[in-house]
Symmetry: D2
Subunit: 333 residues, 4 copies
């Protein structure tokens, strides 16, 4: 039975608490948060103790920590928890600073402790089925990958200002999905951003709509489209053209009912947002982490994956602001 400490007690921490407590091989020992009332509320709901973050990391009876605190604390906590001998599952992104994330990777790489980054979409059954079909050779060799990833509505501008920007905060998931599916790092990154959804997002120095194209050494191409607003719901699709066919992962829908009237033929909208769409993925992510910590399987997503996605975000940010392609090697130099 894996004994788990949860660092952070916000919304995403609640998602993880549910996964931890529902899994037959893990138990939630304690939760911490910089706002004590948050920790107490979550502790009451899931029947665990509240402690300080330091106490959780110092407790030898705790096997693993799940880091769901604010991004600026991730690297420090990964290092501290690893040093204390704990397995780590950390929410994305590793850091807003690529340099800091790489330093963190250096610091922990000798520890031998598993550090997994929470790219939950790898565990979505639809994207998983697409990957399985690709790996089985069902469309031959991959050639052109397209990811459509739209949020239903933009976050507050106050959040935007501390988010690290659309590429580090939102598209980071898509960068990891690209890496997951392409199995290799891109050579160049070309990004275009605009703030057509909300001019205040532009005034805050960020974009709300962005397109990134990625090139690969072997000639493959990937395209990612992000928008902070799709009024019909969370739009999460992947499409991959290969030498022998096309794979598409479509949206999950709220239900399967279709209504035909004089106005047309209407079906349900996509599931609303990440909690609705990816709840099974969070559970599967946790199960994969438990299996890896138990030594049954390899770690499915590593800190290196977190650094790689962050490097693509950094390159995209540069590219979008300077209106020219950026070589990934340059941001990693």
């Amino acid at each position: 039975m894996l004994k788990v400490g949860l660092l952070g007690a916000g919304r995403i921490a609640g998602v993880h608490a549910k996964a931890i407590t529902s899994h037959p091989g893990s138990t939630l020992v304690a939760v911490s948060d910089y706002l004590p009332e948050n920790a107490q509320k979550l502790a009451a709901e899931y029947g665990c103790a509240t402690r300080s973050t330091d106490e959780i990391i110092a407790d030898p009876a705790i096997d693993a920590v799940l880091i769901a605190t604010s991004t600026d604390t991730h690297s420090d906590l990964i290092e501290a928890a690893t040093a204390a001998g704990k397995a780590v599952l950390c929410e994305k992104p590793v850091d807003l600073s690529l340099a800091r994330a790489r330093a963190c990777l250096d610091a922990v790489s000798g520890s031998g402790k598993p550090v997994m980054i929470g790219f939950n979409r790898r565990f979505d059954p639809n994207f998983g089925a697409l990957k399985a079909a690709l790996d089985a050779g069902e469309i031959g060799k991959a050639e052109l990958l397209s990811i459509t990833s739209y949020d239903p509505a933009p976050p507050p501008v106050t959040y935007i200002k501390v988010s690290g920007g659309i590429f580090r905060d939102m598209m980071i998931h898509d960068f990891d999905m690209v890496n997951f599916l392409m199995g290799d790092a891109p050579v160049t990154v070309s990004a275009i951003g605009t703030s057509i959804v909300d001019p205040e997002i532009g005034a805050a120095g960020d974009f709300d709509t962005a397109v990134v194209t990625l090139t690969y050494a072997d000639g493959r191409i990937a395209v990612i489209k992000n928008s902070r607003r799709a009024v019909y719901g969370y739009d999460q699709r992947v499409e991959l053209l290969g030498s022998e066919g096309l794979l598409q992962a479509q949206n999950m829908l709220e239900n399967t009912v279709i209504k035909s009237t004089t106005a047309g033929v209407t079906g349900a909208k996509p599931t609303y947002f990440f909690l609705e769409r990816y709840m099974p993925a969070y559970a599967a992510e946790w199960a994969a982490f438990v299996d890896a910590v138990n030594g049954d399987t390899a770690l499915p997503v590593t800190l290196i994956d977190g650094v790689n996605a962050l490097a693509m975000a950094e390159a995209s940010t540069l590219s979008a602001h300077n209106s020219k392609p950026v070589a990934l090697a340059d941001v990693l130099a």
Copy 2:
């Protein structure tokens, strides 16, 4: 070049005139109608002569006639045209009277002249693809066939009164589709009818909504559903469960555009009615008739098919009015 006389100049005659004149192997020589102005209008549009029905039948230069007159004249015209040595394509149904249709079949069966009944849906590319998949064994042995066939709106009650009833006028197409797909005649027919769309249709002694179930000697079952009103358009679907799978022929849609908004995900309606849905089928039907007359292929739908469908309509009418199953053999006795 097949020289064709067209008997009748109403709406469906216009459809056939277009098919005849568009086909490279046939030419429209003359048209007749009991309303001379109708014949003149069609003749002007398609560049042919107007004549009386008798003249057309008597003209040795005319190779084939297409009968698109009112149903009560079909049997007489089939007999007359066949006796005059002409190939015949006659609109459905053969007759409102099964006895008269069978007499017509007896009368012409010795002639050796091709008599085809206009069950145009056999030539719809969707139903044709379903049949081809069935014949190729793609779902194993057929077990349970379902036909959904709804008109967008009921005809005037004045038409209902002379139509012969929903089974002879509307479901006749579905009876033939069942025979086309099942390749055998049913043993029993059980029909239920109601006039829930328009009570005046019930007052006229007919139904506007009906369900017929058919049983076969080898244990197969078929179900046909008809409604005179589907406000979203012409609903024409076939679904066949087999030992190794299911085949479904879906509706044709007006276009492929999908709109996602806060109100849902909306696509186009089915093509509105038979002119929109089945225009390619009418052209293919005519091409098949020309090929058969030229001796290149067997006649794809025969007068016997017309009689069989009519027998099922007669059995259904009896069954619905008496609330009990009817053996097809009894109406053919």
Copy 3:
């Protein structure tokens, strides 16, 4: 906190144990089974005691029982549990004997204790959304209802022999769905059955493929199609034509991936069977039962609903064997 005793420890009991233990307002106290090792296995998995059925019913500390034993014990257990003051959720069908089920209804109707029958499909989100759209008037007045309900593969013939037949064992769910959607009992029932899937099912006196048509006093019609075999998975669809449109509840699919190759455009199959398709419905069913027992809401499915569905099964059995429509009033006389 509702304290629950579970009677029976087979496969469906496991589904309910999961729902009971996952619900924040209920706890599983004890389980019984005529095979002690079954009870022990389930008790170990869900952390409860094992007891005899009599002990569970006699225990005043237990508030409710969930009856998931073999069908022939349902009526007796409903009566005993109700007499002992317990709320009851009983699996379908109430009984194989309509007379016994009606006697049970008489016996418990004065008790004031809630008795709910486990028609889980009412709690499926897709059928629920269809019902909500109907109730909201989105397709006007209902006219013609169609239910397609196919199992992926037939059960063993040994099961068939004790099942009560396809109408009582399998179509009972569809009868309840019809009642749920139509909101009224039918007047007549016409059933056709065949054993085209497996002749041994026919040799055992049952059917494996059946079609039932139902008529209503106000002219509506319903059609139910059942097959014991759909090799592509559990096919569970509902389609309702109304005066202002059509509603269709489609299948849930295993995933949303679509593959386009030279062989065609292929998507995932329907979820395989009732455990995959209806797991959320079982959880929602249990939640609704807890709410009703707590007095927050009316009981959503009652013992009367169980009796009504059983009456339709009895009428269908008669109709199929005698090849004629049966008035529902006659089986209830």
Copy 4:
């Protein structure tokens, strides 16, 4: 009755010949081709004369010419035909040289004679319905446009070498579609190309797979994806995200049949190539040209549209070869 001369007798000329001869308001007078046997074959099929190109242009009895010759002759023939007082419908692209196309535009702009460029996709009913929904405000303001445009198989490398490259030969259609839908010219063009389908295409200096992103002065973005190979057929989709929703124009399919087996749920492929997909569009294009020549409507696509699309192709070619964005103004300077 518009009297038409057809310049060129290749495959696409045959498509136009069919449209011209099927239209009630136009007649095909003569056809020319540099290969006399081609012209004779087409003339025989459509019942017209064969003449030299010069004779057709010089004949005062001919009202309009349709230019379907090789691209390098387009500008000269547009100028000659316009000077001879004829209305012109010219196949895309106007020219491989942007400078030559602009000179042609200058030369003919004073003539007052209608010159339409054959961007047939504007007349596709699906893209037309998408445009109509956009213009009706159904998704609010356009923000992010995506075009997927894949050919089923690459042309021979011999063709590639004289084609002007993927941007001028293939993506030219998509540039016009972007202009049609966005209603404005882009500010910058960023192109990426690769030859992953066939290295010989790369050896010939061209790409077989390309992605272009376009920015607009008001913050909108467009993305175009091209591949010379989609083994499942001609993939022609448009998707437009707006402030109040998403519009998608999906592919046309060969038929509507769906097959469900143990292998999955399979539907038909997209219609194979442009002849199958766009035949109705070619007919509608011709009808729109006839209407415009008759003065009933404005010319729906002009020579300026042809020059604009060509400028975007030129900018894309530069961008892809130099790996940096190109301002459209720079290629038009």
